[in-house]
């Protein structure tokens, strides 16, 4: 659905078909819509076969990294005598992203089913669904869905009567963006401060509680039941562009557009049509200026780049950005890019776990400089300093929050340098900008 708007004819509602349909949230409602047939089929298959189907389908991590899911599952070695764990990453905190929230509050059983299939495939008897503490509604519905599944015998020591154990628990987070990073999530689950760990060792070797763990995003897991039921080829065929990006993606559109909401389109959909047709285009009297297509951590795109993009992993990279989480933030000509970027930098400064020197100091320093420029006290040297700080923050830290802060700053200065220079030189800015800023 272009939820909360009516379904657009060019969308492909795989995951979003029942967004806005309250009946789909109950177990009975879900079963009448074909739910849990995927799990039933999976429990009758060999574990390696399930992993192969997912590998073959080309499903890639939908949380932002785009790592091939089947490949990730295959890292879990069977028969090593250690308890395996599955963690579902529902700590959706990337600015601009709100798709996992919709999956959890409208189709919670899709996630329960996906997690159950994944847990069985990787040999995990226990699954933890880590949901961020602010998500009151998703927590409510996921807790209810897990309870209903236990009551119905779908989960528990004898999942669907097959004698296999599938346990699932919802774990509430407490307000930290960094806990969306997989190793920080594991630390938080263990009851520690959410500080990311050094990799190696990787989660599949030593993860939560020191045991082999797989972590997947909500959207990735919710897509698994249908892939299993309809087959890998069906999913692979859903790609308008290149075979390395298959299936559909849920995009959360926000910012200065006429119809913000959650849209689901196949890989390779043209971004220009997406923005102007599906999302309704800019607000009256305004024009689009910039787009951040994958949440605040990916490079900012100019409209020229955006309008030439095909929406898939490689397509976004070809046009100077990344798919990321699919949180599309649209910025129009009434906004000041400096203001927007300064606020993004402040977000990262707040959320840094403060382990690594580059991130702890760099995010704070970047924010100070950007706010100084925003308030009219910047100098031209500041721009060089910002780029130097950004370069030092890239590729040198334990996790990529540091890189994520550097990216909008560097891409913003590169592509919208004139706005920074205007503020520094104290020139009178465009009347619309001045009125709103």
């Amino acid at each position: 659905m272009g939820y909360p708007h009516p379904l657009h004819e060019r969308e492909t509602p795989l995951l979003s078909r029942y967004f806005g349909d309250p009946e789909a949230r109950s177990l009975d409602g879900w079963k009448s819509r074909g739910g849990y047939k995927g799990l039933e089929q999976a429990l009758g298959m060999a574990q390696a076969d399930i992993t192969n189907v997912v590998k073959d389908s080309g499903l890639r991590g939908r949380g932002g990294a785009g790592f091939p899911t089947g490949l990730k599952w295959s890292f879990m070695k069977p028969g090593d005598g250690k308890p395996h764990y599955l963690c579902c990453n529902a700590d959706e905190s990337e600015p601009g992203t709100f798709k996992d929230r919709e999956v959890m509050r409208w189709t919670p059983h899709a996630l329960v089913e996906g997690c159950a299939i994944a847990a069985y495939a990787i040999g995990a008897e226990t699954t933890y669904i880590y949901i961020r503490g602010e998500f009151t509604e998703p927590l409510l519905w996921m807790n209810r869905a897990v309870e209903e599944a236990y009551a119905d015998g779908i989960l528990g020591a004898n999942a669907m009567g097959t004698g296999k154990r599938i346990d699932m628990h919802v774990h509430k987070g407490a307000g930290a963006y960094i806990c969306g990073e997989e190793t920080a999530l594991m630390e938080s689950l263990e009851g520690r401060r959410g500080n990311p760990r050094i990799k190696p060792p990787f989660p599949a070797v030593s993860g939560v509680f020191g045991m082999p763990t797989t972590i997947n995003n909500v959207e990735t897991l919710a897509a698994v039941p249908q892939i299993l039921l309809q087959g890998a080829d069906w999913y692979k065929k859903m790609s308008l562009s290149n075979p390395k990006s298959t299936g559909t993606k849920l995009y959360s559109v926000c910012g200065n557009v006429k119809k913000p909401g959650t849209y689901e389109v196949v890989m390779g959909f043209p971004f220009k049509d997406f923005l102007y047709d599906l999302c309704g285009g800019p607000l009256d009297g305004r024009k689009f200026k910039a787009v951040i297509p994958g949440g605040a951590s990916v490079p900012i795109q100019t409209m020229a780049e955006a309008e030439a993009t095909l929406m898939d992993y490689e397509g976004f990279v070809a046009q100077g950005t990344m798919l990321g989480s699919g949180g599309v933030i649209v910025i129009d000509d009434a906004q000041s890019m400096v203001r927007v970027i300064a606020r993004i930098a402040r977000f990262f400064a707040h959320e840094s776990c403060a382990q690594c020197t580059q991130c702890r100091e760099g995010t704070a320093w970047t924010t100070k400089i950007l706010e100084r420029i925003r308030d009219g006290h910047g100098t031209m040297e500041d721009l060089d300093t910002l780029i130097e700080i950004g370069e030092n923050m890239t590729g040198t830290t334990i996790c990529v929050l540091s890189d994520s802060c550097a990216v909008p700053v560097i891409s913003g200065i590169k592509k919208f340098r004139s706005e920074f220079e205007s503020l520094i030189q104290g020139r009178r800015v465009h009347p619309v900008l001045e009125a709103v800023a």
């Binding site: 050094i198 382990q355 690594c356 020197t357 580059q358 590729g395 040198t396 830290t397 334990i398």
Partner: protein, 81 residues
């Protein structure tokens, strides 16, 4: 007692041979090279958070924290770059 396998690598042009499992930072000490570090202490678990000990390892895509990276055969490490 089984002998630990020795690993040969080059740090700042100096060849050095250390038991496998040694960190690059310790190997550099053996080679007489001091890699600046702040959060590392031989008596404590490896933290790897100050990032002061980052070194260049030939053919590796990113800088490596030498306190937390074990030596590998034939590695070429540059410290002062």
């Amino acid at each position: 007692m089984a002998e630990r396998k020795m690993v040969n690598l080059t740090i700042e042009g100096r060849p050095v041979s250390v038991p496998e499992g040694t960190s690059i930072l310790e190997a550099a000490k053996v080679a007489g090279i001091l890699i600046p570090h702040y959060c590392y202490h031989p008596g404590l678990p490896i933290a790897g958070v100050c990032r002061m000990c980052l070194v260049e390892v030939e053919k590796a895509p990113k800088l490596a924290p030498s306190c937390a990276t074990t030596v590998a055969e034939g590695q070429v490490v540059r410290v002062h770059t």
